[in-house]
Subunit: 308 residues, 2 copies
């Protein structure tokens, strides 16, 4: 099945347009987990994997997808990359959709290399070998134009995978490039959004959305609304909810009349629910994954109320 | 010493403004190396490391720097990343400058994660641990604005490292975004070039160039010339020579009156010299590294003739 249809159906099955960002910064992992392991790259990577698995065990039937952020695995080196790979495998086995937040972007054969790594296969002699299996979607950067996108699109068709292209990101300085006004009156991000519609035209699924879709931040609600109206085949991966300031009512602007069209990322607010004002008195530190589940249910209901 | 000064002095010492791109696609590794190892991710990664080391052994005293392209290591998974790390270590021990071609770009704390991974340290408890040591420079993508650059700049100051920001890339579709005309008459890449000058202003070294510098392709000589005149503190990492079509006389436009200001990447033409029309009859396949050395000398002389 087309990757975006797989994602949409999983959202319907769980009735939850949330993706759990798995960004294992050292300081958010509960001490009860950290203390079991040595303070080495290997030790911390084992702690990360235990933590991720425990979170997945507690939410896999109520959250449709995970989004591990590669930076937080690469920073723990080879051992961190092992934790990334194992996390993807574990979530996949639990039937979650896996979005690798890699924001890769490079030219021609190099983009093909990245696509081989995360979406397709590496060919070694006569063998096809997967480097990082179990990834359904990867995020990519459009600065180099279609050369950097096409190899991914080809693998999306071949292997029923998907990509999210950065269009309008959630960070404060996103406008520095993305909001620049072109001489035709469009902004750079509007132009990129129209390219994404074009790049994804052969990958539209049964809900009208394409497996070549876009990242649009919750922190810019006007732009989210405008893009929902213009980029009608583009599904949105929406970061910026919670810690970054995006509200449910803002996010609702990214959804269509059927209540679909986006998936909302929450990283810190889910991973660190056990430390939050709302949940810290209700759960002990060792119940961190239960706090995550409680927060996931609260977030799901809040989003669904705003969207419908 | 400031990273860009280290690079410039190494270029002067070798009298060679070349960086050897180490992009170990499976099909360019000589059979004489491939055949020693199994057709597995582990086997191919060992072959890559042997190949890279042999090339480095044969050029380290005539080429100032290497540029491993992360995609071609990630595509071989965890084992590939080990080969990347070991390659960087080996080149560093041979006193070469290491440029990790990663083109990473992400927001705030995530950019910090990448910077920790490649330029700085990951802090685990009380320990500072390096994930991928021995990297002097990393390439980064500007699409997310200064939020995605600042964490790297801070580490450049702290650890005497450098970055190359994508400005005008060498690929055919680079213009799709980078050449868009803004309403003020500038192109997107010109605007990015002016941001890079600003971002790098605290990192200028004794030759006037900054450790926060730029990628500008050899395939767009007019733009290279124009940027050399405008971005006077920005050193250029220049891809696109050889296989992609950039000529020495074009590249010379990226250099200043003192004959400095850029370093020219060659990947395939150096790595695969043993297969090229020019060298294949002069060297046997097992002498692949000698062919690379011969091509490196030819390229050095060609560049120096054009620049001076």
């Amino acid at each position: 099945m087309n990757a975006i249809d797989r994602l949409i159906e999983k959202i319907k099955e769980t009735n939850n347009p949330t993706v759990m960002g798995l960004d294992p910064r050292y300081d958010i992992i509960p001490e009860v987990v950290i203390n079991k392991y040595e303070n080495t790259l290997e030790g911390i990577s084992k702690a990360i994997l235990e933590y991720n698995k425990e979170l997945i065990d507690n939410v896999y039937n109520i959250i449709p997808a995970i989004k591990p952020q590669l930076a937080f695995y690469e920073m723990f080196g080879i051992e961190g990359m092992k934790a990334f790979k194992e996390t993807c495998k574990y979530a996949h086995e639990k039937r979650m959709i896996v979005i690798a937040d890699a924001k890769r972007g490079d030219i021609g054969s190099t983009a093909k290399g990245y696509s081989n790594a995360y979406l397709g296969h590496t060919i070694i002699g006569e063998e096809k070998i997967s480097a990082f299996n179990y990834v359904d979607f990867i995020t990519v950067n459009p600065y180099l134009g279609v050369d950097s996108i096409k190899p991914f699109v080809e693998d999306c068709i071949k292997y029923e995978k998907g990509i999210f292209v950065l269009v309008k990101t959630s960070n404060p300085s996103s406008g520095e490039l993305q909001d620049l006004k072109l001489e035709n009156g469009q902004t750079v991000y509007e132009h990129v959004a129209s390219l994404v519609e074009e790049w994804g035209k052969d990958l539209r699924g049964k809900y009208g959305y394409s497996s070549v879709s876009a990242v649009v931040g919750a922190t810019y609600p006007e732009q989210l609304k405008e893009l929902r109206n213009k980029a009608v085949h583009t599904f949105f991966l929406i970061p910026g909810y919670g810690a970054q300031g995006g509200k449910a009512k803002d996010i609702a602007l990214g959804f269509d009349e059927q209540g679909i069209g986006g998936i909302v990322n929450a990283s810190r607010s889910l991973m660190c629910a056990y430390k939050s004002e709302l949940w810290k008195d209700k759960f002990k530190e060792e119940e961190y994954a239960k706090a995550t589940r409680a927060e996931a249910i609260r977030m799901r209901d809040e989003l669904n109320n705003a969207i419908k």
